[in-house]
Symmetry: C2
Subunit: 364 residues, 2 copies
């Protein structure tokens, strides 16, 4: 089927670009001896997780238990849930998961870690633990090397959980291609201090898990980091481009839409709004709206209703007509993919793949 | 099951409030002789559409063909698709739909209307048409009574479509409870002018479809309006409250979440972010973040990652602990419900209903 035969709105993945992105990150990690544990939140598709493993990833990362279950169902065998597991219902599911996959959980709380260990003990399974330190995003994570040492020691003494090391998420760090941000050095120094103190206490830190897509290829400059968890690199998006972490030519996902109204002067309406793109604005501060139009770069996706994308075409020479098809690179590809039950893979203009987004919407 | 046994995040509907909201709008419409054709985009659940019909609604409104199909599958028999149907694939599905339900489509384009008529003729079905006039939102709709008359006349002369009347969406109009916004009078005057001119040409305007939730209960002040299409009124949300169109006590939907991290001073993290609430900010300009916390009104849902809600508790006396459950009224309930495959209905604190959100994510 030709890509123009896909009814719109449709989320389309260029498989050639996807493969390039996968190969580049795999080569970077292999070249620097860093383990790659990609965050599957970007694609939520077991087949793409499998492509990552086939290219050398040591395992995958997910945020929620439901995502981990979908990935384990598909045979993925080594899963980090980079999210605290809280509550009896989730602990039950966690030990169920640990019976069929190697599972690790990160948390900043000794209480959460203890509950995991206790439940694992009752069920006769082993669950890995990473102690999370805040890298400066102020989301999750203990605040100092002191607190990290205390938390790690408590984890290391649990009977039925295995303390593996540290996790940080430098999600607030924006990396200019020509600069080495000092903030990564500071994070590294704090991790190293905690690691040294634990070593002197006889506790080994085997894993230090770091890295989001923007900082991924600076990871070799951090002495402590043993693995990274980039997610967005598989597809890239306008946020990644705005941060200078990828070129537009390396954006693998486009949303194909159709013009459905041109009745208002200076405007046109496409058949995708916030239910198609998500309402995430560009973080890059470019002020170019909710996505980038490949056909006409002066057409601005200025605002969105749920099902209507409002194009501002006042400064554009494009003369859009009802029925015209356009392609937009989304601002935040993870949240865009999460709106859809299915995505399409193309080689050139030929549709060769249909994937269900099996991990979509699994909030628990 | 007690509501506290639901694992989080969970979208919970208070059925008593839902029924009050349904009854109030039904009574308003009955009292003023206005037909009620609720927009199902807010709930996307056939069982709730059925509750609306049972209370006197003349039919339902949807935005997308996929939503119409789900509603027709569930036996809803009179469906307005308030969205232009463009393209061969969708036209095929439209006539399939018209074989099992009474279907009407709105558009601002004679070309779109003609394609619908032609396809209906080939299939031997009849499809209703409404001519859309822009009420000032600058989204879809022709711009003047002149253009509306021209479009309506073209529609009226189509062989296999039935011209029924006009559609407007005053979605930009915010109604203060004590004011009668002059903009509704202006819209009414423009519709009346077009209606009179069509009458003199021998074309009857039987339906004038208007009204969103904020303007719904001002509809009797518009002489032309015969039916309204409010959606949000079933649940209400913080946007409706901010506009003065509902009280907090009439918000039927809450999102139940659990605190999963308190490691960062002045902050706490809940297990729902933009994948749970959607990223739609409050339109009311209250600056209170992405939802309203019923337990602690000084706890601000300040920002969101995909799976993390970032609470600012600096100005709050709440001392949150990991495992605490909180309830948030979302800003925009339509987009929140659209993130979820299932929602729960409660009477008091007892869970008595589980509904699949069958119309979720149907973007085509």
């Amino acid at each position: 089927m030709h890509v123009s035969e896909l009814d719109t709105p449709a989320v389309v993945i260029d498989l050639g670009i996807l493969e390039e992105n996968l190969a580049e990150m795999a080569a970077y990690c292999a070249g620097h001896g860093i383990a790659l544990r990609p965050h599957a939140k970007t694609h939520k598709i077991p087949a793409i997780a499998r492509m990552q493993i086939d290219r050398g990833a040591c395992g995958i990362t997910v945020a929620k238990l439901g995502e981990a279950e979908v990935m384990a169902d598909a045979g993925l065998g080594d899963i980090l849930i980079a999210y605290p597991i809280v509550g009896a219902r989730k602990l039950e599911r966690l030990v169920g998961l640990a019976r069929r996959a190697r599972v690790t959980v990160s948390t900043d709380s000794a209480d959460v870690a203890r509950a995991i260990s206790d439940t694992a003990g009752q069920a006769g399974v082993k669950i890995g633990l990473l102690a999370e330190m805040d890298a400066g995003l102020r989301r999750c994570g203990v605040q100092s090397p002191d607190e990290l040492v205390t938390l790690a020691l408590e984890m290391a003494h649990l009977a039925h959980a295995e303390f593996l090391g540290f996790l940080v998420f430098p999600g607030h760090v924006r990396v200019h291609p020509d600069l080495q941000p000092p903030v990564l050095k500071e994070i590294d120094a704090r991790l190293e201090e905690a690691q040294d103190r634990l070593f002197r206490s006889g506790v080994e830190v085997r894993v230090v898990s770091g890295g989001s897509t923007p900082t991924a290829c600076r990871s070799h400059l951090m002495k402590t980091v043993t693995e990274i968890r980039p997610g967005t690199y598989v597809f890239n998006d306008m946020n990644t481009v705005a941060m200078g972490a990828a070129d537009l030519s390396r954006c693998a996902v486009t949303v194909h839409v159709t013009v459905v109204s041109v009745a208002v002067k200076g405007r046109a309406v496409i058949d995708g709004g916030s239910k198609t793109f998500s309402s995430d604005l560009s973080r890059g501060g470019e002020g170019r709206g909710f996505g980038f139009c490949l056909e006409h770069e002066d057409v601005v996706l200025e605002s969105m209703s749920e099902e209507h994308g409002h194009l501002n075409i006042e400064s554009s020479s494009a003369s859009l007509r009802i029925g015209d098809r356009l392609r937009f690179v989304p601002n935040h590809v993870c949240t865009t993919v999460n709106m859809h039950d299915e995505v399409w893979g193309v080689r050139g203009e030929e549709v060769v793949e249909r994937w269900e987004v099996l991990g979509r919407g699994l909030v628990r």
